[in-house]
Amino acid sequence: MTIVTGKTGARQELRPARWSLLLQKIWEHRADYAYVLPAIVVMLIVIAYPIYYTVELSFFNTPPGLQLRDKIFIGFDNYTAILTSQVFWKVTWNTLVWTLASTFISFALGFAAALALHRDFVGRGVLRAILIIPWVISAVAASYIWKWIYHSDFGIIGAVLVGLGLTDRPPNFIDSVSTVLPSLIVVNIWREFPFAMIMMMAGLQTVPDQLLRAAKVDGANAWQRFWHVTFPHLRDVSTVTILLLAVANFNSFIIPWIMTGGGPSNASHIWITHIYELAFGRQRWGVASAYSVLLFLFMMTLGYFYVRALSGNERKEANS
C-alpha cells in the first residue's frame, strides 16, 4: 500500500513540473513559433474556415444564387438525400473504377518502365526524358489533345482503325456510355504513369548492390533476384507511390471535366466533377457541401494510412 501511494504521490508531483517544462520549452522556442505564425494564420483563413463553412452548409437547404442568409437548417437531410439517390451510387462506382484502375495500371506501367530504364543501355537518358513528358504537360492541354485523338470524326485513332480495315466507322470513344470511362482512364494513366516511374526509379537506386551480388552468388536468376531482393526492398516506396496516386486520382477533376464534363448521362462523372457541377452548375450549395464532407472523411481515412505507412518506415529505419 505504501508503495502505491508513494507512486501516485510522485506522479501528482510530476504533473505541474511537466506543464511548466512544456511552457518553458515553448518559451525557449518562441522565435520559431513566431516564424510559423503567419503561415498558420493564412492556413486558418484559407483552409480551416472553408472547411468549417462547408460542414455548416451541409446541414442547410440553400437557395440558388448567393443569398445564403436565407438558408434553412434541415439536419442530415442532405446526407440522406445523397445516400439514397441513384446518381450518388453511379458516381461512387465511377470514382472507384476510375481510381483503382488508374492507380494500379499507372503503378504497374511506371514500375515496368522504371525496371526497363534501370539497366544501362544506349539512349536511356533520351528515353527517360521522353517518358516524363506526359507528366510535365499541363493536364488541360493534354485533355484537349486527347479529345481530338478520340474525336469520332477527326480523331487519329478512329482514322487508323478505319484505315486498317478493323472497323467501318470510327468508334465513338467519349460519346458512348460504355466506352467513355475507360477512355478517360487511359488518358489519366498516360498522364500519371511517369510519376510512378520516377518514384520507382528512385527506389531501385536504393537496392543494395551487395544484396544482388549475394543473390547472384547464391544462384538466383534474374527473376529470383527481383522477387527475393528488389521487390521486398521496394515495398515501402510502392506503398507510398500507390497511396499518392490514389489520393491524386480521387481528387481528379481536370481530365474528366474538360473532356466530357461528366457526360454522357453521368457516365464519366466522378465525385469531384459531380460536386463541382452540383455547386457551381446547379447552385445546390448544401448538397454539394454534404458531398464534400463525405469525400473529406474518406480522404482523411486514406491520409491516415498514408501517414502511418510513412511513419512506419521511419520506425523501421530507427530500429535498424
Binding site: 543494395p208 551487395q210 544484396l211 551480388r213 549475394a214 543473390a215 547472384k216 552468388v217 547464391d218 544462384g219 538466383a220 529470383q224 527475393h228 531482393v229 521486398p232 526492398h233 530500429n319 535498424s320
Partner: protein, 365 residues
C-alpha cells in the same frame, strides 16, 4: 575443396587497369589474403574470381576447370560480403536456406543442412530472428553460415570484418581462422588491414596499383619485403624508409645523408648497394631493430625526438632523419621527452636496402 589459379589476369575499365597481370595459385585448403590499400585491385580480383564482373583477359581456374565465362552460381563458390548482405526480409533460417532453395534441394535436406550450419556456428537459437534483430557479429556469423551450407569449393570473403567494432573484429578474426582450420577450406580473403592478413592467412598477396607486389607467407613478407611499398605497408608502425646516397669513405662503403651524417655498411650490405644501378639508396628499418641511445654512442646517428607515444607495453618514439619519419620502439621504462636529443643505432643484420629509383629490395648476388 579445390585450388584456385589466376593466370595473367587483367581487368581494365576504359584505359584504367584495375587488375594488371596478376598470376597466383591458391592451394587446396589454403587461406590466402589479398591485401592492399583502397583501389589496389584486391576487391576487383575477388569479384573476378566470383564471376561478378567479366575478366578482360587471362584465365581463372577453380579446381581444374577454367571458369572464365561461367556465372557465379556455376563456379561452386560462396561469398561473404563486407555489409553481410543478408536478405533483410528473411529470417536467419531462410537466409541460410536461400542458396539451397535456389539449387532446388529437397526440403528435408535443406532443413538438415541449415540446422547443421547453425550448430557449427552456434546460432541455433537465432534461426527465427530477422537480420535487423541481430548484432553485427551475429549477422556476420549468419553470412558465414550462408556460405557454409553450400559446401563450396572456395570461400571468397570481401572485407568481412571491417564493419565490426575493434573488439568484435579481434574475436571474429580468431573465429574465421578456427573455421578455416576445422573445415580445411580454401579461402580467398580480401582486406585492407595488413594485421588481419598477417594474423590469419597462410599466404598473403600484397597488391598495389593493380599489380601483385609480393605473394608469400606473412613471415617472409615481413622479413623480406620485395619492395618499398610492401615494406611500408606490412607491419605497424610502418617500416621507416630513409633516403640516402652511396659513397666511399676510408676504403669502406657508406650511406650518406644530406644532413651530413653517414652510416658505414657491413660487407654484405655494401655488396647489395654496389649492385644497384643508382647511387640513391633507401634504408629501411623496423621500429624494433633500431636502438635508441640517450647519449652519443659509436655508430649511432644523432637525431631529435619528435613525438613520444606510450602504449603500455612499448613506447613509440618518432624522429626525423633525412626528412623521413623514423619510428623506434623502446621499453616504457626509458623516459624520452619530445625535442630531446637522441642517438639511433641501426642493426646491420636487420636493415633493408632498396634501390632509390626502382624501389626494389636490393639483394647480394
Amino acid at each position: 575443396m579445390a585450388h584456385v589459379v589466376l593466370k595473367d589476369l587483367i581487368k581494365t575499365y576504359g584505359s584504367f587497369k584495375a587488375v594488371n597481370n596478376v598470376s597466383l595459385t591458391v592451394n587446396d585448403g589454403e587461406f590466402v589474403a589479398l591485401v592492399g590499400p583502397s583501389g589496389c585491385g584486391k576487391t576487383t580480383t575477388l569479384n573476378l574470381i566470383a564471376g561478378l564482373i567479366p575478366i578482360t583477359s587471362g584465365d581463372i581456374f577453380i579446381g581444374d576447370r577454367v571458369v572464365n565465362g561461367l556465372d557465379p552460381k556455376d563456379r561452386d563458390i560462396a561469398m561473404v560480403f563486407q555489409n553481410y548482405a543478408l536478405y533483410p526480409q528473411k529470417s536467419v533460417y531462410m537466409n541460410l536456406a536461400f542458396p539451397l532453395q535456389m539449387r532446388k534441394l529437397p526440403r528435408d535436406e535443406i532443413d538438415k543442412k541449415v540446422r547443421e550450419a547453425a550448430k557449427v556456428l552456434d546460432m541455433t537459437q537465432l534461426l527465427e530472428r530477422k537480420p535487423r534483430e541481430l548484432s553485427g557479429g551475429q549477422q556476420q556469423r549468419v553470412a558465414l553460415g550462408r556460405a557454409l551450407v553450400r559446401d563450396p569449393a572456395v570461400f571468397l570473403m570481401d572485407e568481412p570484418l571491417s564493419n565490426l567494432d575493434a573488439k568484435l573484429r579481434v574475436q571474429m578474426r580468431s573465429e574465421i581462422k578456427r573455421f578455416h582450420q576445422d573445415l580445411k577450406a580454401t579461402i580467398v580473403y580480401v582486406t585492407h588491414d595488413q594485421l588481419e592478413a598477417v594474423t590469419m592467412a597462410d599466404r598473403m598477396a600484397v597488391m598495389n596499383g593493380g599489380f601483385l607486389q609480393q605473394y608469400d607467407s606473412p613471415a617472409q613478407v615481413f622479413a623480406h619485403p620485395a619492395n618499398m611499398f610492401v615494406a611500408s605497408f606490412v607491419g605497424s608502425p610502418a617500416m621507416s624508409l630513409i633516403p640516402l646516397e652511396v659513397s666511399t669513405a676510408n676504403g669502406g662503403t657508406v650511406l650518406t645523408s644530406a644532413e651530413g651524417w653517414s652510416l658505414p655498411l657491413s660487407q654484405l650490405n655494401a655488396r647489395k648497394v654496389l649492385g644497384a644501378t643508382t647511387r640513391k639508396i633507401v634504408l629501411g628499418a623496423r621500429h624494433s631493430t633500431i636502438k635508441l641511445h640517450k647519449s652519443a654512442a659509436p655508430g649511432a646517428i644523432p637525431a631529435k625526438a619528435y613525438t613520444v607515444e606510450p602504449t603500455g607495453d612499448v613506447t613509440f618514439v618518432q624522429a626525423f632523419l633525412s626528412g623521413a619519419i623514423v619510428n623506434i620502439s623502446v621499453s616504457p621504462n626509458i623516459a624520452v621527452t619530445p625535442d630531446e636529443h637522441i642517438w639511433l643505432e641501426f642493426d646491420q643484420e636487420r636493415i633493408h636496402l632498396f634501390d632509390g629509383e626502382t624501389e626494389m629490395a636490393l639483394q647480394a648476388d
